[in-house]
Assembly symmetry: C2
Homo-oligomer: 238 residues x 2
């Protein structure tokens, strides 16, 4: 499989390290691709069978748009943390474009190519989201990418995906920030339990804001369920 | 220093392993003391300079009470997670008793002697709480115990201690349980961030309940501050 990777941060870099063990990988990133074979321009990736778009969240739809007009046959697969905007873009994309949403459920509060590692996705779920521009071949290739990095492909709708991510990523992030705010004056005494409970508060702000503001309705719904659970648990405290 | 340890779980066992590197340590636990030198009866520990009471929280005051009547000169130091009951007991203890509250800020969701390790307290804060039955010598010996296990002794009142513990242990525990409840149907997709955020929900229920119900007023106060922080952060989501 010839794979192009657009964006070489933690996720793109880790995908490249994992995929190049068995596939022909070229990456494009304006900030450099480290020891990974680099392409001079984004468009140079179009010779691949599949291009994985692993840019920051705000650049995913613009990058898909730039690629989609020239992408005859090349499958475009993003790996951003939210899927509704990708699904919406696909509906208006050129009819010849092939677009699949993807999201490996792995990560780290460490960011960038320097934190990338080939085993980041091993055994992890890898969401695949069909779009109006996905067909059987495109979904198959996306599944091959997921399996090639050791992950477990799981098909989900864009709506359900963003709901799940609000519960598993958005909500814990807001909660960790609130815990860190309440404990700020005594945090130096905190043990490993407190450290783990507040770790997500260290998520880089631009990534955190994109995850929260780009999924605000679902995050609010998760917060409402969380408040109910908290009220129930407080009653159990006696 | 001759040290007696009453209760050989994670904390008592780890204290014994750390202390026996430089001190004469004997432990008492009805369930056995593993490879640590054992005493046949609780009272056999009274020959020591200091007895560290490391039983489950519900047994700390009863154990202190059993020891206090015979403890002429031997310093009694508990290492439970809450300090108000210990301070209250000390006020009515025999005038000859010497009682100091202690609480090393270290732990693990793994419990029992099998999880004990000599370096559990290395570099960690170790709260020391003066009581109505503490004097300079008793506080000094308690500080020596804390330093001997590699911890950093910090003096705090019983009230302030229980407030801090509500923020650093009680609140994160309730929050982790609420997160786990909201995410129960999708937890299998959770990455390391979600796992860390919900880890404290695995605290053994009897330990968790003792920490929460035994400190209910402070936990409620921490929950109130947490809800305010959550409301503020939700507004920032936009």
């Amino acid at each position: 499989m010839r794979v192009g990777i657009a964006g070489c941060g933690l996720i793109g870099g880790s995908l490249a390290l994992a995929l190049r063990r068995g596939h022909d990988v070229r990456a494009y990133d304006p900030a450099g691709t480290g020891e990974i074979a680099g392409a001079a321009r984004l468009e140079d990736l179009l010779a691949a069978d599949v291009i994985v778009v692993a840019t920051p969240l705000s650049q995913i739809v613009p990058t898909l748009r730039a690629l989609a007009v020239h992408s005859s046959g090349t499958v475009l697969m993003d790996v951003g943390s939210l899927k509704r905007d990708v699904a919406a873009f696909a509906e208006s994309a050129p009819p010849s474009a092939r677009i699949v949403g993807g999201h490996p459920m792995a990560g780290s509060t460490d960011q960038g190519l320097g934190a990338a590692r080939a085993d980041l996705f091993a055994g992890r779920p890898f969401f695949l989201v069909p779009t109006a521009r996905a067909d059987e071949r495109a979904m198959g290739i996306a599944g091959d990418v997921a399996r090639a990095v050791g992950a477990i492909p799981t098909i989900v709708s864009a709506q359900e995906h963003d709901r799940i991510v609000a519960v598993l990523s958005g909500l814990p992030l807001v909660v960790a920030r609130a815990l860190a705010r309440v404990g700020a004056d005594v945090a130096a005494f905190g043990g490993p339990g407190y450290r783990d409970a507040t770790r997500l508060a260290q998520t880089p702000p631009e990534l955190a804001d994109a995850l929260l503001m780009g999924n605000a309705a679902e995050v609010r719904a998760a917060l409402a369920r969380f408040r109910t659970a908290l009220d129930d648990l407080e009653r159990e405290v006696g």
